[in-house]
């Protein structure tokens, strides 16, 4: 019970594009315990989505997993056959996606789509049973008049309702792990809050583990127990949410937090991190953030920074912390 549900170890992913090989993930490692919510944060292109896809073995061509291990309940998912993986997908590990209108098949009614998944994972078999369970699921996710929704097509539902339906589908087989890839990003702000609340509530009820991929620190603060900050395919900082927000240690994390518009901050203009994310085509030998870092040192450009413990359960990949003995000092 103390073993983590999911342990990712030195995961590396390459994309073979006509312009060259793009290093999407450069040795990502983290662990997730049962019943906990982990946030994967970073800008677009940092590799957070690729991580989620890699876990279920659906990295799209021309991507390729070239190294590392993904241990789910002790088994390395990367060593499983496609057939074995298919037993796990949707049954033990589920995914929900950013744009529900694109992730729901437009030519089938919602009821059929849920039923298909439930039938596949033997949650129910008879027509009556399927319908009953589907109705229960839809009302669990807060959808009004579930019987109407069962017969509706995706385009007939609003964005929020679509997302709820997708969550229902993902949870239909009571998986152990839910990977939520930016589930609120394409929704209206008010609906975002509703969906987030729904997710938090469902997580508390079912004690499901969640990997929440997002670029929004506010969501992380509200919903996640632990946070992993990704930059250019590497984890630059990892720790509990409280710890990370109180003592952001990596310059990138600090920049992210400073860039959040917060009430009360009106006197200062939003701080922007200058520059942009490197393309991943020709990764620099040193720290990926070196070109944008205020506190950059010569060694940062030349050698990749080591992962250093700042406090219990809080680690950061930065030379600033490698040089000081007391982890709490800011350089």
């Amino acid at each position: 019970m103390n073993d983590p549900l999911l342990a990712v170890d030195d995961l590396r992913v390459l994309f073979h594009t006509p312009l060259g090989d793009v290093h999407a993930l450069r040795g990502v490692s983290f662990a997730l315990a049962r019943g906990r919510v982990l946030g994967l944060v970073g800008e677009s292109g940092c590799g957070k989505t690729v991580t989620g896809r890699a876990i279920v073995g659906l990295v799209p061509a021309p991507g390729e997993i070239v190294g590392g291990r993904i241990l789910f309940e002790g088994n390395d998912l990367l060593k499983l056959s496609e057939r074995e993986l298919r037993q796990i997908r949707g049954r033990r590990i589920s995914m929900i996606f950013q744009d529900p209108s694109a992730a729901l098949n437009p030519v089938f009614p919602i009821g059929q789509q849920i039923a298909e998944i439930m039938r596949q994972h033997k949650v129910a078999t008879s027509k009556g049973d399927l319908r009953e369970k589907a109705l229960a699921l839809l009302s669990d996710v807060g959808l009004p008049s579930p019987d109407e929704i069962l017969d509706s097509y995706p385009h007939q539902l609003s964005g929020g309702m679509q997302q709820r339906a997708m969550i229902a589908m993902a949870l239909s087989s009571r998986p152990d792990l839910l990977i939520a890839d930016e589930p609120t990003t394409s929704l209206d702000v008010t609906i975002q809050a509703q969906i987030l609340d729904l997710l938090i509530e469902l997580q508390l009820q079912t004690a499901i583990s969640v990997i929440l991929v997002t670029h929004n620190m506010g969501i992380v603060a509200e919903a996640c127990h632990e946070v992993a900050v990704l930059y250019a395919g590497c984890i630059v900082e990892f720790g509990s949410t409280r710890e990370l927000f109180r003592h952001p240690s990596h310059p990138y994390t600090q920049g992210l937090l400073k860039a959040m518009p917060l009430p009360g901050n009106r006197r200062h203009s939003l701080k922007v991190i200058p520059g942009s994310v490197p393309s991943g085509l020709r990764p620099s030998p040193g720290c990926a953030f070196a070109s944008r870092c205020d506190s950059v040192m010569e060694v940062c450009r030349q050698f990749p920074p080591p992962m250093v413990a700042v406090a219990d359960g809080h680690r950061v990949a930065c030379y600033l912390w490698a040089t000081s003995s007391n982890g709490r000092e800011n350089a």
Binding site: L19, V22, A24, V50, P60, G280
Partner: protein, 303 residues
């Protein structure tokens, strides 16, 4: 930035693609099949232009009979044999290339010209102009394409020019529709609205903003249509509605050889038809490559 050429200046836009990595032209360059087809077609063009100098039987290519030599099977002296009037087939095929290429160019060029103009006008001005042009387009589109071309060609009289006009008249609606859709969306863009508000006249807006935006899909469609143009005009020639004898046209040649096919003289119909096939194939492959190079999805993943 490279200095703008005359076309670009007229369009008011550096709309012509560049050769940077990741651009459409760059992708096209790397497509081996596409480049091979371009090479092949280039050779065909050169051969067509230089036809008179590439054969000893130029006059026969143009149509002069040489009766004593009729029906000679393929040999070293006449690699593709001779036809019913004793004309060397190599020369005839070479001269036929001229017709085929110019036909394809004229048909596609004419359709594009008519279609783009009408489509841009319809999409940009909207209202009754749009309705009128769209109704006309509907009527033309209601005809099965070849049938309309046949009817028009028959009405105008069988000749090369008339066949080209006929097919162009049957094809322009596709381009009009394509351009109209683009024009409708571009018209609503902010920079177009801004231009109108400061009083830029409509024709200039069409020229500067609408046309450059429709160039890519029109170009892709045109590239893909070149192959069909050759085949369709050959079909018309086969029926007798295209270029008339003694002109060397591949479709016509296939028809001329038809009567002798079963009598053992297979080479008269076979070689011109094969030339048709190869050229159309090259154009179609080229069209595919052009389309693939312009399609952002095909170009490879982001991260």
């Amino acid at each position: 930035m490279k200095p703008l050429g005359p076309i670009q200046r007229w369009l008011g836009n550096p709309a012509i693609p560049r050769l940077e990595p990741g651009s459409a032209l760059w992708f096209f360059r790397r497509d081996r099949v596409g480049m091979a087809c371009s090479g092949f077609l280039l050779i065909v063009v050169v051969v067509a232009v230089l036809a008179p100098y590439l054969t000893a039987h130029a006059a026969e290519g143009r149509g002069e009979p040489n009766l004593p030599d009729k029906f000679l099977p393929p040999s070293v002296e006449h690699p593709l044999g001779t036809d019913v009037l004793g004309r060397d087939q190599v020369a005839r095929v070479l001269y036929g290339a001229r017709v085929a290429l110019s036909v394809a160019l004229v048909i596609v060029g004419l359709s594009v010209l008519i279609g783009v103009t009408l489509g841009a006008l319809a999409g940009y001005f909207g209202g009754w102009v749009d309705d009128a042009i769209m109704r006309i387009t509907d009527v033309f589109l209601a005809f099965p394409p070849l049938l309309l071309a046949i009817a028009i060609a028959a009405a105008l009289g069988p000749s090369l020019t008339n066949a080209m006009i006929a097919i162009a008249l049957a094809w322009w609606p596709w381009y009009a529709r394509l351009v109209r859709a683009q024009a409708l969306s571009v018209r609503e863009r902010n920079y177009v609205r801004a231009a109108r508000s400061i009083g830029v006249d409509d024709l200039t807006i069409i020229r500067r903003h609408i046309i450059p935006n429709v160039l890519t899909p029109v170009f892709v469609q045109a590239a893909m249509d070149m192959g069909s143009a050759i085949i369709t005009s050959a079909g018309l020639s086969f029926i007798g509605l295209g270029p008339q004898p003694p002109m060397a046209d591949w479709g016509l040649m296939v028809n001329e050889g038809r009567a002798y096919l079963l009598g053992g003289r297979w080479w008269i119909s076979t070689f011109p038809g094969f030339a048709l096939f190869l050229t159309a194939l090259a154009f179609n492959l080229l069209g595919d490559s052009v389309r693939d190079a312009s399609d952002p999805r095909v170009r490879g993943a982001g991260a």
